[in-house]
């Protein structure tokens, strides 16, 4: 009897404990010292890959070294960066166009023959439908194209074509084209989506408007360029082919099929060149109701997200994020169906192909498949959001998953080394996760994002490293480091800026009305001129030229009691406007530590009361100029 009671009590305790078990969870990943060696880069040595991670709603691009996962720098793109004066100096201020925010999602490296050529990095600002070009010679944003007219946000963007002929942008939201007042309830009638092709100048990368195509008002989501046999096509996924305009969570999840749009961009450009486009908001827009042969729709189950073309260009992989499969379409079958005119009706003039006619295979990868990348051995890697895993599968029969690995947690994009080109290197993939939760030291409710570096070289995927990133990488690009040859200083001989000067004798302050131009030099460790006399109410433009040609000797220019600060790199000339609001003395100084006498690198602006006579041209005293000139000679 007693034994029974004891046993029963033990049972109660055991059950109570069992219900608290964290038991059935997997490990926290990682394999220890062997993995550590694979990410260890000896001090002073360099990584073998550059990784460019989009900064999401931080509006910039993070540069990491791989495999060490070290954050090397952040390139300001759509968001001002006062430390270096991005969005503060006159040139970058104009480029930002009055916006102080962007949501940067998809970096796209320029390509030649479908492989990264290391020239430029394009990235979209989704909400404002802009595309930026970063020059990889100096890692600086050199052009921001847009807001692209008629487009409500550019999510499927930029995804360059194999020779960077085009970058693309497709409207995530739909709106009336041109935008005007209508009732939201008239969505299906009045709203339209837009797919835009933006031309890229092959010499200098300058973007200009190519064409726009009027699409049904679905939510255009992601894109990828065809390559090899499918070169000349760009593919776009969409959701909400139900054309819901409210409660999308429910209404956009009802139809069994949404679509991949296949756009023949050469045919579209030809139609524009032949004058078949209508000008709307100043850009040529093609209407598929009138212009045939430019776009087609391929049905894809269950609200697809990513679309990715395999390295050979034969297959187009789209994942219905609400199902457990990747649908693989054959480009050859698509072409045959189009050439044979086998359509199943159309949506607003865009012919719809038959699912069965184009489908090559469905691969049961797991729950919540989003994006796919590739290696050099014929494998594909698909991120699984719901399962928090990456599934590795064979491209080709029997179309099966061969390996899976856990990631932490809720992976969105993934980035394989050169994994979206014709020749992926197959070395690494980085999981870009949406949640980090408990992975790093707790820094409060605003969690960092999480990323994991995974080795692809063995038969099984191996987790090597886990690192936090600031908000919020979406897509990324990983390129062999040897493909980039950035400069370390701007050669002074190539400085043709109108405000540039080269000698102390040229330093001067010129006045025209109440505009004052200061042409000055910054050199270790002085400003020339370092005394600037202006009148109350003057608009003062400081043009500073950093005459240094030595690595890493940047000078700063910060003015007290203002938002004016910038960094001037060796060989660079930058201009900043400052308003002389009140009479008095305002010091300025070098805000970027430059050398031993950095603290002494300063100057004063003397603002005299309105109307005080000031010379039209001031020059530093001759003995001062001679002093500086002498200094410069000895350097």
């Amino acid at each position: 009897m007693k034994r029974w009671i004891v046993l029963s009590l033990a049972g109660v305790v055991a059950l109570g404990l069992a219900s608290q078990l964290p038991g059935c969870t997997a490990s926290r990943g990682g394999s220890g010292a062997a993995a550590a060696q694979k990410v260890y880069v000896k001090p002073g040595e360099h990584d073998t890959y550059y990784a460019f991670l989009s900064g999401g709603h931080h509006g910039n691009v993070y540069v990491y070294g791989m495999p060490s996962c070290r954050h090397i720098t952040t390139i300001p793109v759509f968001t001002p960066e006062p430390a270096v004066g991005y969005g503060v100096d006159e040139e970058s201020k104009v480029m930002l166009g009055g916006f102080s925010w962007g949501d940067a999602h998809h970096p796209g490296l320029s390509e030649t023959d479908g492989d990264y050529d290391g020239r430029w990095l394009f990235i979209n600002d989704m909400p404002n439908a802009r595309i930026a070009r970063i020059d990889l010679k100096d890692f600086k944003t050199r052009q921001i194209f847009g807001p692209i007219p008629n487009l409500s946000a550019a999510h499927a963007c930029p995804f360059p074509t194999p020779n960077t002929e085009y970058v693309f942008a497709a409207s995530r939201f739909s709106a009336p084209v041109p935008n005007r007042y209508v009732k939201v309830e008239d969505y299906a009638k009045e709203f339209r989506g837009i797919i835009a092709g933006v031309k890229v100048d092959p010499k200098d990368g300058t973007m200009s408007m190519g064409f726009e195509i009027l699409m049904p008002p679905f939510n255009w989501d992601l894109a990828d360029a065809g390559k090899g046999p499918s070169h000349g096509w760009e593919f776009f996924t969409c959701y909400n082919s139900e054309m819901g305009f409210d409660s999308l969570e429910v209404k956009a999840s009802q139809a069994e099929m949404d679509f991949v749009a296949a756009v023949d961009w050469r045919a579209a450009q030809k139609a524009v060149d032949e004058g078949k486009a209508k000008m709307i908001s100043g850009v040529p827009v093609l209407d598929p109701q009138q212009v045939k042969g430019i776009a087609y729709l391929i049905p894809v189950p269950k609200s697809p997200h990513g679309v990715d073309v395999n390295p050979s260009g034969e297959y187009i992989c789209a994942s219905g994020k609400l199902q457990a499969d990747v649908s693989v379409y054959s480009y050859a079958k698509m072409k045959a169906a189009i050439d044979g005119g086998k359509f199943d009706g159309d949506r607003m003039g865009v012919p719809v192909l038959k699912y069965e006619d184009v489908l090559e295979a469905t691969v049961p990868v797991g729950l919540g498949p989003l994006h796919t990348q590739f290696d050099d051995k014929g494998n594909a890697y698909t991120s699984l959001f719901l399962d928090s895993q990456i599934a590795k599968w064979k491209v080709g029969p029997p179309w099966q998953v061969v390996d899976k690995i856990d990631v932490y947690y809720s992976i969105g994009h993934l980035m394989a080394s050169e994994g979206d080109t014709r020749h992926p290197t197959g070395e690494y993939v980085v999981a870009l996760d949406k949640l980090s939760k408990d992975r790093y030291l707790n820094v409060g409710p605003t969690h960092p994002e999480a990323a994991q570096l995974i080795d692809l070289r063995g038969p099984k995927m191996e987790l090597l490293y886990d690192f936090p990133t600031y908000l919020e990488p979406h897509y990324a690009q990983m390129i062999k480091a040897e493909k980039l040859k950035p400069i370390t200083v701007y050669p002074m001989v190539e400085n043709h800026k109108p405000g540039a000067i080269r000698t102390a004798e040229e330093a001067r302050i010129e006045r025209k009305g109440n505009r004052v131009d200061v042409y000055g030099l910054v050199v270790r460790t002085h400003f020339t001129p370092d005394i600037v006399r202006v009148n109350e109410g003057d608009d003062v433009y400081f043009h500073w030229t950093n005459l240094e040609q030595d690595d890493d000797i940047a000078h700063g220019f910060g003015i007290l009691w203002s938002s004016c600060n910038m960094q001037v790199e060796p060989g660079e000339t930058k201009t900043m406007r400052w308003k002389a609001a009140r009479p008095g003395i305002t010091p300025f100084y070098c805000s970027n530590f430059c050398s031993a006498l950095h603290q002494e690198m300063q100057g004063y602006i003397e603002v005299s009361p309105r109307g005080t006579p000031v010379a039209a041209v001031q020059r530093p005293a001759p003995e001062k100029t001679a002093e500086v000139a002498a200094l410069l000679k000895t350097e």
């Binding site: 009897m1 059950l15 219900s19 608290q20 964290p22 999840s253 928090s388 809720s410 408990d438």
Partner: protein, 204 residues
Amino acid sequence: MHYLTDRFGATERRMIWLAALVLLPVFFFPVLPIWTMKLWAPQYREGLTLTIYTNTIKGDLQNINTLNHYVGMHRITPDDFKEFRYLPQALTFFGLMALIAGLVNRRWVAFLGWLAFSGFAIYMFSDYARWLWSYGHDLDPRAAIKLPEFTPPLIGFSRMANFKVLSMPGPGTVLLGLAWLLGPLAILYEMRAASGRRRPRRAA
């Protein structure tokens, strides 16, 4: 038949007191969980918990409901369960019956109480199973993720989408089960004692 109309033996009566002790406080102190459900997903490796008491459900209800809406499951809200409005009272009532049986010292009262308690337990288990069934079958057809109909486990492990689920009776149910078990135990004990009285054991 006079077995039922008889009084309790001393040990039997102690067992009745014990049953009353377990059951009586339920209404006044409904502190022990009667069932727990633990759910793990890759991004919830610490697990989400649902703890069912006799009068309410506690735990990560808000989180679980938010997640469930993707697959179109009904919101789990304590107010939906009329059971919570009578379950503690009913259990305390059975405790009261045990107490009365002990006080009036008649087996038939205890026996009636035990029968009613058994019937009630069967009803509650089938009721719980019905709830589970309806949560997994009455899915909103407009849900973003369409799952095949399913029944969450009454007890043990199962997989639901990206979740692993463990369902276990709580200490409350175990105690209730023990209290119920005191019925047959008492009979068993009494039968042994009776046979002992008929054939008194001799010293070996």
